[in-house]
Symmetry: C2
Subunit: 186 residues, 2 copies
């Protein structure tokens, strides 16, 4: 449905390149015979190595149990061509429909987890649950990114950033201030 450039393996300790700017992501999961996808905007990078990402996955989501029980997921990075699919996924429940089928997404086999990659996304970060200490109290999952795939182009994907109330801020221009950084801060 949507064409995406060939993907390459990407260093897991550099996923902040795509996640730190704060995009909406699609989280895919699988437990036993069931597969699901959800939209997620509440996430943060937590460490370079191991490559840790913290995500709030509300217990009200159908994905919550699939991810908690399997201890795995894939964080997929959609771009603006997928805007209406991102909205559709966020406004439906995997308890009622098969979202891969409904939204014509292609599930690809991951390398290290059983949850599927979403082919139409710019990047796919395979995750294993690293620490569940805050899952019960805050629905906060700390994942380790164990394998990463990123499309070779475009270099700066146009991501979606949710502001609430049905509105998204789109990624704009990219600027460099590299010359003003201390070497060890890069």
């Amino acid at each position: 449905m949507y064409r995406i450039a060939r993907k390459q393996d990407f260093p897991v300790n550099q996923v902040r390149r795509y996640l730190e700017p704060g995009p909406i992501v699609l989280v895919s999961s699988k437990w036993r015979d069931e597969t699901n996808v959800m939209t997620l905007g509440w996430h943060t990078v937590m460490e370079f190595s191991p490559s840790l990402v913290g995500c709030v996955i509300s217990a009200g989501n159908h994905s919550f149990e699939l991810i908690r029980d399997s201890g795995e997921c894939v964080i997929n990075l959609p771009t603006t061509v997928l805007t209406d699919i991102v909205v559709g996924i966020g406004n439906t429940s995997g308890a009622e429909i098969d979202k891969f089928e409904e939204f014509e997404l292609t599930a690809e086999k991951a390398r290290k987890v059983r949850a599927p990659l979403i082919k139409e996304c710019h990047a796919n970060f395979e995750c294993r649950l690293y620490d569940d200490v805050l899952v019960e109290k805050y629905n906060f999952f700390i994942f380790e990114v164990v394998h990463a795939h990123v499309a070779v182009s475009p270099r700066y994907p146009e991501t979606l950033h949710y502001t609430g109330d049905g509105r998204f801020q789109l990624a704009g221009a990219t600027i460099s201030r590299r010359s003003r950084f201390r070497q060890e801060m890069l």
Copy 2:
């Protein structure tokens, strides 16, 4: 130095409007007679009410102890007019210089915490440490936003989103898909 529109109080349970898109923020702190500011890109909204925000503040930062000891900070939202100041703050240490003085920032009195607001920023979120359970292991602070101030204009501030390697993605256009959302998802 930089003019900013008048600020209004803003509902603390709606700060996701400004933080969920993933901007770089400036975190100001105060402990005893010492004040500091740091740049921070690793944060996530965690709950609407109480209004919780999780932040990774590396123990290597001079701000770490000020925030841990005072149990307070202010999350300030800079826009692109402050780009070089954001970079300067991120590449210097409060152990060596007074950053408010060095970068000619105006410290304003907060309403509910002793840490100062940065007047030149578009928004200021006063925070109290809510849960320190992950501070030792991950340098992860869970704050409650106890008071929020937001400039009345512009409606969509041009924020900075860090991608690593000295590069920032700027906030671009804003689009609405409100009509495609279920009411309870807004």
